[in-house]
Amino acid sequence: MPYHEFQCSKCIPERKQHAVIKGKGETLTDALPLGYLNTIPGSISERGCAYCGAKHVIGTPMKDVIHLSHGPIGCTYDTWQTKRYISDNDNFQIKYTFATDMKEKHIVFGAEKQLKQSIMEAFKACPHIKRMSIYQTCASALIGDDIEAVAQEVMDEMPDVDIFVCNSPGFGGPSQSGGHHKINIAWLNQKVGTVEPEIKSDYVINYVGEYNIQGDQEVMIDFFNRMGVQVLATFTGNGRYDDLRAMHRAHLNVLECARSAEYICNELRKRYGTPRLDIDGFGFEPMAVSLKKIGLFFGIEDRAQAIIDEETARWQPELDWYKARLLGKKVCLWPGGSKLWHWAHVIHEEMGVDVVSVYTKFGHQGDMEKGISRCEEGALAFDDPNELEGLEAMETLKPDIIFTGKRPGEVAKKIRVPYLNAHAYHNGPWKGWEGWVRFARDVYNAIYSPIHKLALLDISKDEIPTDKGFETQRMLSDADLSDEIKNSTTLREYTGKYNCLKDLRKKTYAPFERRELADAV
């Protein structure tokens, strides 16, 4: 597996250790990109800061909480509403954002008074919310404000509120990943074990590392409810603050994004003996295997199988409609962390696309091990990319689409490469069987949008054809398809609803079973 040197990064020779090409017959022991290191000076990274990782990724998806940044307004602005971690309480946590708005005078004289005032104001402005998370930023960390002391003072004065303090300033780590780590451990140390939950089922899990992007968590909770599995807490998408204080009582931690949340699972295993089961919630087969494993753990695998059979029968013809049209399309899979390995093999197997490159902005070497293992030979894998490297890779690999964040995504658009937002999605949810078809539909819509062809014409110099009408998506995607596929009566396009969460939120379930209670009666 040779290391790869980008032409544009020849002047930063250290970058060579951060990129490899997966060679034929070679293994992870031949070469592995470096990862989770400070960005090399001269390389304009696409990473976020450790405050952003703590607040933006993990803290803010908690839904019944005032999320207050103790710092200049700019830190908060960058973490506001850019990710679609929705919730079923009218999206309180993304509708409102709070900051103490630190200014020069606070840096000189301290900002603890301002912090207390802001806390009080926020609780007053939202009288129905009794929980708060406070996030330290570079400014408040450097002047040494004692956020815990202020929070404690408020809790003493207002016994009905509870406050969590996250000390993860922007400089606390090479990337947002440092913040993931800090908030995991802070939550565990400060809050887990401080609430006793009502146990309603014999089968109790925490669902960890799931952030309810466009409703992913709600899709998964539906499966768990159908299996009779009680989800004590989701860390943290659509999660309730007090539920997350009760994480110590689960029988099993089901871990989705190990990159951002393995820390809390590892510590829960050490401190409370709760085992950690890593799963994949994306794709038909991984989804099926994951539910089956949870079923096996509790001895209810037949319930998982019933869901698998029903969902597969319902959605397979639709996934296959898209697969037939996406076969052989080249993808650069360039997410932040875990989707690199959640998706690398399964988009190839189930959507028929070829992953020609994987990268991770803030992943560790362990994520690269997983991602490189799962992608096909010949793929270019690189860590902590910069914009020029991304451009060079797109120019040489000529992908049909890239899956990435909005900053590199906009860069891709400039060179007419369509992109899907791997962090916030387009028309999600993308988890579960239906979600996976919605993802395939988004990929199809992006690749075959007629706009890309039109955009390639430069009206200042190209001849504009006036004898032809517009081409439609279907004309483009079906041009080389066999009649058998084109006229198939079994394959069909997505037939779900525009908003597939609406009905889910109204759904009712059979009550959970509790053997111990039944025995006692």
Partner: protein, 116 residues
Amino acid sequence: MAEQMNDKIAQMENYIMKKCLWQFHSRTWDRKRQNENILGMTKRILLGQPVDKDTPEDRCYWVDAVTMAEAFRERCPWLADMTKDEIAALMDGLYERIDFLTVTGSLNQELNDQHY
């Protein structure tokens, strides 16, 4: 003969590396424990021996082991023609290989970090 064995191990290795996540926990001691327990249990299942799964921890290993044993039986039809001794030797070889790829031969510099 050795070549045939290596080829079989490679097929199983490919399944693990593509489909599983349990082998990539974040520290050396963690990976060793996962490899030993999960592959150990898979071996017992394939040999038709009983597996101890009374504690939640063991049950969690078993979940991955039983899923993998099922997948091996499905994807590696040649397993059905092997004797128990051959299966035992094959699984020992697979264990050694996975330990090499994920622990002893791994280039992951975080594996020996003292903290999680």
